[in-house]
């Protein structure tokens, strides 16, 4: 068998430029080609990296659209799809509940009690509600919920699906006419979406409540819990009622979708050591991108 592999990029660049140049410019061209040849591997590496990153973004957009479109078809929600949705939802909410409560408690202790104390000290206690809504509920909660979703459940989905691809189980599903996108990606993504919203709401309530308890105990807040929550709700604008749930929903959606797609697109060269860091980095990036996009507009 003859070796038909193409020459390395630097050799290709040199030969092409040498053929194109007139005879008197050959020496300059040769130097330029040598210089280009030296940088060609770097340029190629940057190009590869860029293509790789764009590939995931495009995959995510396509899969997101596919998930939404397929979910609207009644015959997409077949029995195994519904079982998978329920199992993942149970895992997402059950697995993340305790972590969310503990994180929300800590966040509440730090943010609510500090805000109440310092705003009271500055004579701006009436601002407590609006600051808590904009800092804790709108900005911090979606990021923390996204990170917990990613760590507790996203990585699990990524590993499960990735191992199924490497072990040939996904191909086995396809051989039996079961679409892995319908059977795995769609139900898990929606389970993460519902889970993101649920855990986000739990986070918001627990963090505010725990913050109130501590601030009330220390004397920073003297009003009742009902007055405190009334002030927080009164400080919310109409947009907040839309944006806050939407952030939780979108964080859940993209964490779930990103994990499943990362798992489904592993190659035969991948191992756990390459799958997990890549999936985690992508998940964190998605959580931040969703939050930053909302921050830009609102």
């Amino acid at each position: 068998m003859t070796d038909t592999s193409p020459p390395p990029p630097e050799q290709q660049a040199s030969s092409v430029l040498a053929q194109m140049a007139p005879p008197e410019d050959r020496r300059d061209t040769g130097r330029f080609a040598t210089l280009l040849g030296r940088f060609a591997p770097w340029l190629a590496a940057i190009g590869r990296l860029t293509r790789h990153q764009v590939r995931f973004t495009l995959l995510l957009i396509g899969a997101g659209w596919g998930t939404l479109r397929e979910s609207l078809r009644p015959n997409s929600w077949r029995r195994p799809v519904i079982y998978e949705f329920r199992a993942t939802l149970r895992q997402v909410i059950g697995g993340g509940f305790l972590s969310i409560v503990i994180t929300a408690t800590l966040a509440g202790l730090m943010v609510v009690s500090q805000a109440a104390y310092w705003l009271g000290y500055a004579g701006m206690a009436q601002m407590t509600g609006s600051i808590l809504v904009s800092v804790l509920v709108r900005e911090i909660a979606p990021i923390l919920v996204g990170i917990i979703l990613m760590g507790r459940s996203g990585m699990l989905s990524l590993t499960e699906i990735g191992m199924m691809v490497l072990g040939g189980e996904v191909r086995g599903l396809q051989a039996r006419g079961i679409d892995p996108f319908l059977a795995l990606v769609m139900p898990r993504t929606f389970a993460f979406t519902v889970g993101g919203f649920t855990l986000g709401m739990i986070f918001a309530v627990v963090s505010l409540l725990m913050g109130f308890v501590v601030a009330h105990a220390s004397g920073a807040i003297t009003s009742s819990v009902w007055t405190f929550f009334f002030n927080v709700l009164a400080a919310m604008t109409t947009w907040d009622y839309l944006i806050i749930p939407l952030k939780f929903v979108l964080v859940g959606f993209f964490v779930g979708l990103g994990s499943c797609i990362s798992g489904l697109t592993v190659s035969s060269n991948d191992t756990m050591a390459t799958i997990m860091p890549r999936g985690f980095a992508r998940g964190i990036m998605l959580v931040l991108v969703v939050n930053i996009l909302f921050m830009l507009d609102f």
């Binding site: 599903l173 051989a175 006419g177 079961i178 679409d179 059977a183």
Partner: protein, 231 residues
């Protein structure tokens, strides 16, 4: 599907070497409803690839593969999946999902492709389980079952839902001896109602007792698929 039309027909089908690793040679095979084709193949992976080829999972560079009169290459994803749902398959590798218990793994294709009531599916799976020597449906995870029990479960799954074609990879080394006769009986019953069988074997011992009922005998080699005389 027209009357007297072949159930599965490979006509000069040349698989893509990059996608399959199968030699790009033209493959020809024709199975009529109720027929049984035994294919000798010593290499499990090659047999699995050829099975994938027959189920339209490997792109062709030439020729065509038709199942129930439909060319795999002309179908959309949903049609492909629906048609693959008509095939009962026994695979040696990668066919059990550790996410579910064995019972759900067995019933999964049937629950996915049909709207039959759940109780009915469970009853049918349990009946087949009894036939293959299970006391009921195994609910433990597949990776906790013995090789023999996995082979039994693979048989139950393949015969579930009255498939039109059975693609059976060789599990004769795992199948317990007392299950061989029920296996032949269930296969014959399926053939009697028009189901075709494509059966990959590694040695003559696997199908020796069934040889009188075999219609086609071929050998799958690196160079392609070759007809042999049925003895």
């Amino acid at each position: 599907m027209a009357a007297n039309a072949p159930l599965l027909e490979l006509r000069d089908a040349v698989p893509s070497f990059e996608e399959s690793g199968l030699m790009p040679a033209p493959y020809n095979l024709r199975i009529m409803p109720g027929e049984c084709a035994v294919i000798d193949c010593r290499d499990f992976e090659r047999a699995a690839m050829f099975a994938d080829l027959c189920t339209g999972m490997i792109p062709l560079t030439q020729g065509s593969i038709k199942f129930m009169g439909l060319d795999w290459s002309t179908l959309y994803d949903r049609q492909l999946n629906a048609l693959r749902g008509r095939i009962g398959r026994i695979s040696r590798h990668g066919s059990w999902l550790s996410l579910f218990g064995t019972h759900l793994n067995i019933m999964l294709p049937h629950l996915y492709h049909t709207t039959d009531p759940f109780d009915h599916v469970v009853r049918r799976a349990t009946e087949l389980g009894h036939t293959f020597g299970f006391p009921g449906l195994p609910i433990t995870a597949p990776d906790r079952l013995s090789g023999a029990d996995l082979a039994r479960a693979a048989c139950v799954r393949a015969f579930m839902g009255r498939p039109d074609l059975l693609i059976l990879e060789d599990i004769s080394d795992m199948l317990p001896e007392e299950t061989v006769l029920p296996f032949f009986e269930t296969m014959t019953a399926a053939r009697d109602r028009g189901c075709g069988v494509l059966w990959f074997v590694r040695s003559t011992a696997a199908w020796h007792e069934y040889r009188k009922a075999v219609n086609i005998h071929m050998r799958l080699l690196d160079e392609g698929l070759f007809s042999l005389r049925v003895v």
